[in-house]
């Protein structure tokens, strides 16, 4: 049993925290968003140069990390700073899928992604799929040794900034069958791909992508025909860990801002932090944040476990993070009062991210259902695994 980070992970954490402290401020983030950009491309390059993207890939994939704990370390820091650059969408989700499915065939693309030179996006969710990973109605029809893709994708993280899309499409089966889904590499400039980018409530960016008779070659299909579901699920497990660690980082900062405010804000002649009613609420919140930390550690330690165990932990962790995230956001705003609701003050941005994280990769109820389904009869939740 060891809950300490190893030496490399401590170095990674400290380096990333120093870099973000120096380079990433709430004001700079607001300026970028106000200018209409979806993120700071220069900063993203610098993050890549620092090796942050490499940290989420295993050595055999061209990275130098890739364990659950490495992901946790990186994303906790990104969450603390409120980073909107496309590390999650491009590196963890789409990059992770590419590495898992076809690392050898596309190693140049993967290296460019790890270097931050190419942006990838996973175009998977559809207007009717909600949080169901197996719900794919975009069609891939074989014709003359090629495929023609038709369909609509939504909530594609950084889709409008991506150079290359990983598009899920159905070769066979009904709309919600796990079997029959394939993944295709589609350059975003391909004829028939149209993309509408938009800002999200939490400052991140996504896109809606329409595929209208998009023609791709056999060689653009990743992995085995119709077998992409398992890889999509595993990639989402990693991305969910990243997202939950990001939430944990955001919770830590939201709490710290609130503690500082309670010590500084005076009403009735005393700091409001001297009121027991507020002290108890903050204490309760701290307990919940420690639960959130444990939940993230649990998932980090079971990323490489068998599917059932892993998915049990994905759903347990995402459910808990969803609940605690909303609690922390709501309580921190309430204890600040009006100032906590202003766009000018950092807290409201952490609160937005914490709440909206519940709308990505499945919410509290979705994962409660999944947890019940996966944990029924299983005794795996109590076992420990190697966090790496």
């Amino acid at each position: 049993m060891d809950f300490e980070l190893n030496e490399d992970q401590v170095m990674l954490r400290d380096m990333l925290r120093r870099f973000l402290n120096d380079r990433y401020s709430h004001e700079a983030r607001r300026t970028v968003l106000a200018s209409g950009q979806s993120y700071d491309t220069g900063l993203f390059s610098d993050l890549a140069e620092l090796g942050i993207l490499g940290a989420v890939f295993a050595p055999e994939q061209g990275g130098y990390g890739g364990t659950g704990t490495d992901m946790m370390v990186v994303f906790q820091e990104l969450g603390r700073a409120g980073v909107i650059e496309p590390v999650l969408g491009s590196a963890v989700l789409a990059g992770g899928l590419l590495a898992a499915l076809d690392a050898d065939g596309h190693s140049a693309l993967l290296q460019q992604t790890i270097a931050g030179e190419t942006i990838l996006a996973l175009a998977h969710s559809e207007p009717q799929s909600r949080y169901d990973l197996g719900h794919v109605t975009t069609r891939a029809s074989a014709a003359n040794g090629q495929f023609v893709l038709n369909g609509a994708k939504v909530h594609v993280l950084n889709g409008a900034q991506a150079d290359m899309l990983l598009v899920s499409a159905r070769e066979e089966g009904g709309p919600t069958d796990e079997h029959g889904i394939s993944l295709f590499l589609v350059p975003s400039t391909t004829a028939g791909v149209s993309c509408t980018g938009h800002l999200n409530v939490d400052g991140t960016s996504s896109a809606r992508i329409t595929l209208d008779a998009v023609t791709v070659d056999q060689s653009q299909r990743l992995g085995q025909p119709g077998q992409a579901h398992a890889a999509l699920e595993a990639a989402h497990a990693r991305a969910t860990l990243a997202l939950c660690a990001e939430a944990l980082g955001a919770m830590e900062v939201a709490k710290a801002l609130t503690v500082a405010y309670l010590q500084e804000r005076k009403q009735f002649g005393v700091p409001i932090g001297s009121f027991q009613a507020l002290q108890h609420r903050l204490a309760g919140m701290l307990i919940e944040i420690e639960q959130a930390r444990s939940a993230v550690i649990n998932l980090a330690g079971h990323l490489e476990a068998d599917r059932l165990t892993r998915e049990c932990h994905v759903s347990a962790t995402k459910n808990l993070i969803g609940r605690v995230g909303a609690l922390v956001a709501e309580e921190c705003i309430q204890m600040h009062g009006g100032i906590g609701m202003t766009d000018e003050y950092a807290l409201s941005h952490y609160a937005r991210r914490l709440v909206m994280i519940d709308h990505i990769f499945g919410d509290v109820d979705h994962h409660l259902d999944r947890f019940i389904a996966f944990s029924g009869g299983s005794e795996t939740t109590g076992e420990n695994a190697n966090a790496g």
């Binding site: 909530h155 409530v201 705003i333 009062g337 009006g338 202003t342 909206m356």
Partner: protein
């Protein structure tokens, strides 16, 4: 014990329903239903529509152009207006300043200030909170110094709702800095077109600038704009705050929000079935509906007591706390029902752009901003913590 309305009250409800069906435009209804932002003109038109029927000033005496509705009638109006997706009535002049003028103003002030509230010529806002005076409102520092027949005002107000549209502001100002903090405050009416008044919008967490900072730099205010006596303003402010709270349960809003939530949950497919058949979500909806059923009666019980002449006291604090928690819970459930489609932030759609694409169902874009906006309910009008302290002291004697 009888829970039913009288035949007269039923007839009144039917009359309101007919009026709203006939007069409220489909465009405004849709905007309110979808949580879009209303323009100043749309809010003014709604006031004008009610005023033309004599219903704008529902609680005012008839001699001043009011409808003299009792508390139950006002509650019925709130329910019907929310049900019809009518805009809310902007309360500052009608429901906050006017009661103070009736109780503490001079007849001259009533003649001067009440008609422009009805006509829409004056749009009032509230100058209470300051950067250093929130929960502890009595610590306010905006200073008014008497110079001849004027007061000279310097200082800053904040969280001034819809101040960007207002041309008049009623303010609490400090006229005696040496007195105990509650005893040196006066209630002053200020024309916002006076030199030295500056309004700066504050963008909030939902992306909208609904509140403002208002700065006063040597603003000269005629002494006749003082309401009541100098240094008695705290008494008037407390009276106004009590008044502000009688309608703060917002049961009508909750009723309308529940209807919308149920429609959305029935339309939304989640895991192969409508969301309202998902046991977890159905349980959350049922729980809030059960609470709301009791809340309606709690509200009516307190309204009946008020109708019998009992002044609203600690009851309004209870209504505020429970009523705001319910509205917040309903907005959280709507946000969750919408699912991933709650993510996009689409200001053009929210501002009512006719060609703006909601990128999903049309009820989706306002779900998250609406949820974040609702966080204000437990903060403003005396935070829920302040209300609980009042309840502990007044109702429990602690």
């Amino acid at each position: 014990m009888d829970l039913s309305y009288t035949p007269e009250q039923d007839a009144f409800r039917a009359e309101l329903r007919g009026f709203l069906a006939e007069n409220l435009s489909e465009r405004v209804r849709e905007k309110v239903r979808l949580g879009k932002r209303l323009t100043k003109v749309e809010m003014q038109d709604w006031h004008a529509m009610l005023n033309a029927r004599g219903w704008l000033a529902m609680s005012w005496p008839r001699q001043y152009g009011g409808a003299e509705w009792d508390a139950v009638q006002r509650q019925i109006f709130e329910e019907e207006a929310c049900r019809a997706h009518a805009p809310r009535i902007v309360p500052f002049g009608l429901k906050m300043l006017a009661p103070v003028l009736f109780k503490f103003g001079t007849e001259e002030q009533r003649q001067r200030f009440l008609p422009p509230i009805l006509s829409g010529e004056h749009w009032w806002c509230q100058g209470y909170s300051e950067p250093g005076a929130g929960s502890d409102l009595a610590s306010l520092r905006t200073r008014a110094v008497r110079e001849g027949d004027h007061y000279v005002v310097n200082g800053q107000k904040t969280w001034t709702t819809l101040g960007q549209y207002a041309n008049w502001i009623f303010c609490l100002v400090r006229t005696d800095p040496d007195a105990k903090k509650q005893e040196g405050i006066s209630f002053l009416l200020i024309d916002m077109n006076t030199p030295g008044v500056t309004v700066r919008p504050i963008v909030l967490i939902d992306g909208e600038a609904e509140v403002n900072e208002v700065f006063f730099d040597n603003v000269r205010v005629p002494a006749e704009n003082l309401v009541g006596e100098e240094n008695k303003g705290w008494t008037y402010a407390k009276y106004l705050l009590t008044h502000e709270r009688t309608n703060i349960a917002g049961v009508g809003f909750s009723d309308a929000a529940l209807v919308t939530l149920k429609q959305v949950a029935a339309q939304t497919m989640a895991g192969g079935r409508p969301l309202d058949q998902n046991p977890h979500f159905a349980a959350r909806m049922a729980q809030v509906e059960i609470d709301l059923m009791a809340m309606r009666t709690t509200n009516l019980r307190m309204i009946s007591a008020a109708a019998k002449g009992q002044a609203p006291g600690v009851e309004s604090s209870m209504l505020k706390v429970k009523g705001t928690l319910l509205r917040q819970e309903l907005s959280a459930l709507l946000r969750r029902a919408v699912g991933p489609d709650a993510m996009p932030y689409l200001p053009d759609f929210l501002d009512g752009g006719d060609n703006a694409d909601p990128l999903g169902p049309d009820h989706a874009p306002a779900a998250a901003p609406g949820y974040f906006n609702m966080r204000k309910l437990s903060i403003f009008g005396g935070s829920n913590e302040v209300q609980r302290t009042i309840i502990a002291k007044s109702a429990l004697g602690l």
